[in-house]
Subunit: 116 residues, 2 copies
Amino acid sequence: MEQLDRVFSALADPTRRAILARLAEGEATVNELVEPFDLSQPTISQHLKVLEHAGLVSRGRAAQFRPVRLNAAPLAGAARWIGDYRRFWEESLDQLDAYVKNMQAKEKRHGSKRKR
Amino acid sequence: MEQLDRVFSALADPTRRAILARLAEGEATVNELVEPFDLSQPTISQHLKVLEHAGLVSRGRAAQFRPVRLNAAPLAGAARWIGDYRRFWEESLDQLDAYVKNMQAKEKRHGSKRKR
DNA sequence: TCTCTATATAGCTATTTACCTATTTACGAT
DNA sequence: ATCGTAAATAGGTAAATAGCTATATAGAGA
């Protein structure tokens, strides 16, 4: 399995995305990460393992705590991959934009038919 | 399941990313998409279904063909999610950069110890 | 209507995933 | 030494996923 695969599939789970969001505010212990979720500690530890294998978090050691911190570097690759498609969605946003403008122009011309 | 979940998990598979890359060059029939892979037609159809549920492709109808075309719009959401972390990886790239520069400076100062 | 081709669907298997509870390990502190 | 707490690991289950072959459907053209 490749790096990009692991990154995207790590991001596919909302719990894991929430964990990353939390870590964006600073490092946390496992129990701190468990707290906001209605999930068991081992389940969170497992999610952390997935994130770790994707290279998205790294672990320290401080007494009996294993602080987790964000490592965003692998997101660069994902961003680059998606970025290659930017022109396509911008195109379609332009089309949407054009469509909306067109509709608004029509609304003006036939103002009497306006709803509401 | 939410949209972003479906988008990221669609992107987690290299076959599906390759299909999207192919579609970036223009629409294609299912058989055209099967050809480059060592996978059966039903397997590709299934991948297309995943992409379709993620909103990443849409299907037409032309005679007995069901042309597949790229719909990049949902990638915008994924890009935006990842984009929120850009500052973190740029930070770490800066650190890497600083590290490299530092090493190079040391190399210069102790030029005689250079290896190779 | 019969046939050919494109694609979808059915039904199967093996693997992976997400969760759980119970237990173990690793420290720190008393 | 033992107690308490943080986190990992073991071991289990149910559901999802990725693949296959075989078959069904839909439309074009003879």
